[in-house]
């Protein structure tokens, strides 16, 4: 009975495969990202500063910066508040993700017990000039104040991250382990016939992707667009490699290559 059931299943799946290939669709190819590299490898020279420095003061037009400071949490449900976020910040306390912030959402409740911690704010600026009556300056990154329960946090270590324009071949990867902090991930995948396609990044947080060492684009879970175009000339017959920088680190293990752009 069970044997018959499996036989039927096999038949059905064979039928589906045949139908799919007849209709010209190809099943999405899954890519497993099984290696990782620590972010420290792309730290640029750090700046020490009492107050926050916007990216403008770090001579960056856009890109990623890590803002770090020691904090003393005195009570449960302490609230961290940023005055300005341009354009996106991921909040970690030690190695624990607390949430993501944008200029429209600048408060987060910290899920930690009282104690001393390292606050880490990973910030991206996408480099556009935003028009609107509400924005009259051109500051990027973090500026103004960061406060914890209304007390201002000072003494920052501000480290630009070399991610835009990075040569990913120089990264050193190890086997992947459970981790919640931002970093690089790597995977290999096989292609028989290179053709134009799209990398489906659904489920991932925010970051950047390289295929075979070439930069292909950025992703963000809050966009409706959930894919990055991969042109055939980037792919090679046989073995290919993918490198992903994931800022939020939602713990995803795989990405897919599909025929059509993906929107949610």
């Amino acid at each position: 009975m069970l044997k018959q059931f499996f036989k039927n299943i096999l038949k059905i799946s064979w039928l589906i495969t045949a139908l799919v290939s007849l209709s010209g669709f190809v099943l999405a190819q899954e890519i497993v990202l099984d290696k990782q590299a620590d972010l420290e490898q792309v730290y640029l020279k750090s700046n020490e500063s009492v107050g926050l420095l916007p990216m403008n003061d770090l001579d960056m037009e856009f890109g990623y910066v890590l803002y770090e400071s020691e904090i003393q949490v005195d009570q449960a449900n302490s609230v961290l508040e940023l005055e300005h976020v341009r354009d996106y910040a991921v909040v970690f306390v030690d190695e624990q993700l607390q949430g993501t912030l944008t200029d429209g959402r600048k408060k987060v409740s910290l899920k930690v017990t009282p104690g001393k911690y390292k606050l880490k704010l990973y910030v991206e600026n996408i480099g556009r000039i935003t028009y609107g009556p509400e924005i009259l300056d051109n500051s990027r990154g973090l500026f103004g104040s960061v406060s914890l329960n209304a007390g201002e946090i000072e003494n920052w270590t501000i480290t630009p991250l070399h991610i835009k324009g990075l040569d990913v071949a120089g990264l050193k990867f190890n086997a992947r382990r459970e981790s919640s902090v931002p970093g690089f991930l790597h995977g290999n995948f096989h292609i028989d016939h290179p053709k134009d396609g799209y990398l489906d990044i659904s489920g991932w947080g925010m970051g950047e992707v390289w295929i075979n060492g070439k930069y292909i684009g950025a992703f963000w879970e809050e966009e409706k667009q959930q894919s990055i175009q991969v042109s055939a000339d980037l792919l090679q017959k046989g073995q290919n490699e993918i490198t992903v920088f994931e800022l939020k680190n939602s713990g995803q293990k795989t990405m897919k290559i599909t025929d059509q752009p993906v929107f949610k």
Partner: protein
């Protein structure tokens, strides 16, 4: 003789019958332009004379078409607005317009409409004492149906309320109704008329070209008010240059709205429409129908072009050919009238300007122009992108606003959809809010009308139904180009290569110092640049009024340098669908952005001729990739030539030449690249050439030229300099220093000549940058708030440094290593020889280099880093060489004295 008599009898019979026939079968119109009764209603509470309920006659009069501003109605503005042109008389509220109109008795049995081509933005019609119709479109004509409310043969008091208050909570900046560019006027513009038609009439006629089959699909919405079965003929006539065709199709139906569809083959003679061959055809449908009792006739005409638009891989495809959009952002900038023109003549002028400046595209930013704009774009071959009044948070949930957008989009598609120039539709600008709503709008637009490509929003979240994308960036990186670079071996091709064609958003935006001569152009306008008066007074107070014109010319020349570089970078980007320059003309709002090479009246500022502009912005442009603009004379110039060709055809066996000329135009070197046949619709490599720069012992400005078939020419300035190994060598007469120390002071006191080059980090003042300010200093008040430099090029200090009175790319390695000294406390007569132009709302004296007498000493200050990367900065070395020759010669004799402490005032200690 007999025959003639018969003829007379026939003609006489015709004359007798004519009024009857026409009354029965034709459309009638009464022009409503002229004098109307008028009353303001700032109370919005039916002031005494305003209650239509009592059929009161309005006391004042106004001429229509027109706007209240034309008659000085409203609040007489005493202020001088800084961030925009000042409207002389502001009016926002309901205003009442009235006329007693006799409805001809002959209109019995007809459908009667009152039609206004454009109003702002709610119009309500009262017939005698009763409100009968309300329409609130902002982008299309208002056509009120009065059939049920007026009686042929009777005189009715028609009272119209025009309310230009915000009918929905839309962004105050939307160009459809903004005070920033066109004003939020109150009035009625364009055609205004009463129209009577037979009760069976064509409400809508849409033409869908099929270029493969050389046919059109015609869709009509026929209104049948008879309540009976009708049948008859739809007689179509298609007419164009050397083309006439007639086709009769049968029509019948019983419903009140009859949807008619038919196909008309157009034959081999029909021609396609595109920017190069803008063949426009008129189609007229004469609808002759009858019921068992009566006959009806109605005619409707529209124009169309045989063109199809498709989404290509990287380009918009017109008739299956890729086009590259060279566009300008149009923001309803019409200070002459305070409203967009509705006549052909003014729009014809604008389309001819587009052609003159090599452009083929206009984006209407958060507004949609009137029909005349489309008509003229059809005629001259310009591709339009039109939008709704939608910007910023306009997509945040608000059902009334959402419904307004839904109606407005359908109305735009219906009113202007036949125009071949209507190629792209986008909902609006930089939208935030609910993108499910944006996707829904975009998808429904696509489903409604396949004659255009659709896009959800410029420069924000992508949606699934996007068929193109206008943005500063894609998920592959930035595609914006706001400024040039002193090298050209770059592009934004890779970043533009995504799943839909990508158009670079709002390119350019480099500020020019305002030209105060423009003030006098506003005497008859509803607006005037009172901000210019404020700027000018401030400049005068700061003792530099005599330099206003120089500031305008020098910053304007820099903007032209930037735009050439910006546009060429975008033309080198073969995978870009195009660009939209912000803008060819000035934008007089948002702080007043004087970024155009044309003023707000679309008149040239005289900064660049159209012919010169077309060398780098045209359907075919010669391009050059090279790695720098400033060279030492022992280096080699090498470059890759390319041809951007999006013209109508390829070039067969094209001859490709390059040459190098000096400042006098003398040709120094020349060469040929292999002749080749080049296609169209792409950027093609032409080959590589190089030459050494030996023999240029003096600093020189040279021009590299590339010509393809002689008719296509472009050129680039490069500068060559000797190595100048020895610089800044102190002698007994001249003391070079980087610090203003006791020794320096003593030297000055002793009457020495001193060249002081402070380390920029130690100078109080502003950051020095090559580019002039982005957009304008009021909206984006970010440092350093400078608008380029005025170089006092005739001063002897520049005798050995080749420069115009404005900065060009040779200044890159000077300005990027400099600091701008604030000189407001310097003596009024002191004029820096490298004078930095301050923001026009601040107008302080700024400089990088100046000279002065200090006691008995002679001092020259140059706030430029003379050490960092100095081996790679040939222009800085040459400037120092020129300064050296000057200070060691007998012309160095500063006239203006400064106090020794003044020097300390701008040095950090």
């Amino acid at each position: 003789m007999n025959n003639i008599k018969h003829c007379y009898t026939f003609l006489l019979a015709m004359l007798v019958l004519m009024p009857f026939l026409s009354a029965r079968s034709q459309t009638h119109e009464i022009d409503l332009s002229g004098q109307w009764g008028f009353q303001t209603d700032v109370m919005d509470f039916r002031r005494g004379s305003l209650s239509p309920r009592y059929n009161h006659k309005l006391q004042e009069t106004i001429q229509l078409p027109g706007i209240t501003d034309d008659y000085q109605i409203g609040y007489k503005v005493p202020y001088r607005y800084i961030d925009r042109l000042t409207r002389k008389y502001e009016y926002m509220g309901p205003a009442w317009y009235q006329r007693d109109i006799e409805i001809p008795a002959a209109w019995k049995g007809k459908q009667i409409f009152i039609y206004f081509e454009r109003t702002h933005w709610l119009s309500s019609i009262y017939v005698d004492t009763k409100e009968v119709s309300k329409i609130d479109y902002i982008s299309v004509p208002h056509n009120h149906d009065l059939s049920a409310f007026v009686k042929p043969g009777k005189t009715h008091r028609i009272t119209v309320c025009i309310d230009n208050r915000f009918q929905y909570n839309t962004h105050k900046w939307d160009h459809a109704h903004t005070e920033f560019t066109q004003i939020n006027w109150n009035g009625i513009l364009g055609e205004m008329k009463l129209v009577a038609v037979d009760p069976v009439y064509i409400e809508d006629l849409q033409v869908y070209p099929n270029i493969n089959e050389k046919s059109i699909r015609v869709k009509m919405e026929i209104i049948n008010r008879t309540g009976k079965q009708i049948s008859g003929d739809a007689g179509f006539k298609v007419a164009g240059k050397n083309y006439n065709l007639s086709k009769v199709l049968r029509v019948s139906g019983k419903d009140s709205v009859i949807h008619f569809e038919g196909t008309i083959p157009l034959g081999k003679q029909i021609k396609l429409w595109d920017e190069f061959n803008p063949n426009v055809y008129d189609i007229t449908c004469q609808l002759n129908t009858s019921t068992d009792q009566a006959k009806y006739q109605h005619e409707k005409s529209v124009s169309f072009g045989m063109r199809e638009v498709k989404q290509g891989k990287n380009h918009v495809m017109i008739n299956n050919r890729p086009v590259h959009l060279r566009g300008n952002v149009e923001n309803a900038v019409f200070p002459k009238t305070g409203h967009a023109p509705v006549d052909d003549a003014e729009w014809e002028r604008i389309m001819l300007l587009m052609k003159a400046y090599g452009l083929n595209h206009l984006r209407f930013h958060s507004w949609c122009p009137p029909d005349a704009a489309f008509r003229m774009a059809d005629r001259y071959g310009i591709y339009f992108e039109v939008e709704m009044p939608m910007w910023g948070r306009d997509a945040e949930p608000d059902e009334a606003r959402y419904n307004f957008f839904r109606r407005e989009m359908s109305a735009i598609l219906k009113a202007y959809g036949n125009h071949p120039s209507f190629v792209l539709y986008c909902n609006g600008n930089e939208i935030t809010g609910n993108f499910d709503f944006i996707e829904q709008l975009t998808a429904s637009g696509r489903a409604m009308d396949e004659r255009h490509l659709f896009c959800g929003s410029t420069a924000r979240t992508r949606v699934k139904s996007d068929q193109f994308y206008v943005s500063q960036q894609t998920n592959k990186g930035p595609v914006k180009v706001y400024e040039g670079l002193p090298y050209t071996n770059w592009d934004v091709s890779k970043q533009s290569d995504v799943d839909v064609p990508v158009i670079s958003h709002e390119s350019g935006q480099r500020a020019i110092y305002p030209n105060f001569e423009e003030i006098k152009k506003y005497s008859k306008s509803p607006v005037e640049p009172r901000n210019f008066e404020v700027f000018r007074e401030q400049l005068e107070k700061n003792g530099m009024l005599d330099q206003a014109n120089d500031f305008f010319w020098a910053s304007g020349a820099l903007t032209v340098v930037e735009y050439k570089a910006v546009i060429e970078a975008l033309l080198r980007s073969s995978k870009s669908a195009g660009f939209q320059l912000l803008s060819l003309n000035d934008f007089p709002g948002q702080g007043y952005a004087s970024v155009g090479i044309l003023d707000p009246f679309w008149d040239s500022k005289g900064l660049v001729t159209p012919a010169k502009w077309r060398e780098f912005c045209a359907p075919t442009v010669a391009l050059l990739r090279y790695e720098k603009s400033a060279y030492f004379n022992d280096e080699t110039f090498s470059a890759d030539a390319e041809l951007y060709n999006f013209s109508a055809s390829g070039l067969k066996n094209a001859k490709i030449k390059w040459w190098l000329s000096d400042a006098s135009g003398k040709v120094l070197k020349r060469g040929n690249l292999p002749a080749q046949s080049l296609g169209t619709g792409d950027v093609f490599p032409l080959g590589k050439f190089s030459f050494d720069l030996k023999g240029h012992h003096q600093a020189e400005k040279l021009s590299v030229h590339v010509a393809v078939n002689d008719s296509i020419q472009n050129s680039w300035n490069i500068w060559v300099y000797p190595r100048n190994q020895q610089i800044m060598e102190s002698t007994n007469e001249v003391w070079y220093t980087r610090v203003y120390d006791e020794q320096t002071k003593q030297k000055l006191a002793a009457g020495a000549r001193v060249v002081f080059c402070p380390i920029p980090d130690q100078v109080k003042g502003r950051k020095s940058i090559f580019h002039n300010h982005f957009w304008n200093p009021i909206m984006f008040a970010w440092p350093p708030m400078t608008i380029g430099c005025l170089i006092h090029d005739k001063e002897p200090v520049f005798n050995n440094f080749v420069t115009a009175n404005h900065t060009d790319w040779q200044w890159w390695d000077i300005l990027n290593y400099a600091k701008v000294i604030e000189l407001k406390d310097a003596p009024g007569d002191l004029r820096p020889f490298i004078q930095v132009i301050d923001a026009n709302d601040n107008n302080e004296k700024l400089g990088i280099g100046f000279e002065a007498k200090v006691g008995k000493g002679k001092l020259l200050v140059l706030a430029v880093d003379t050490q960092k990367d100095i081996d790679k900065r040939p222009a800085t070395r040459q400037l120092l060489k020129s300064i050296d020759a000057y200070v060691k010669g007998n012309q160095f004799d500063p006239k203006i004295e400064v106090d020794p402490d003044f020097i300390n005032s701008f040095i950090n200690r």
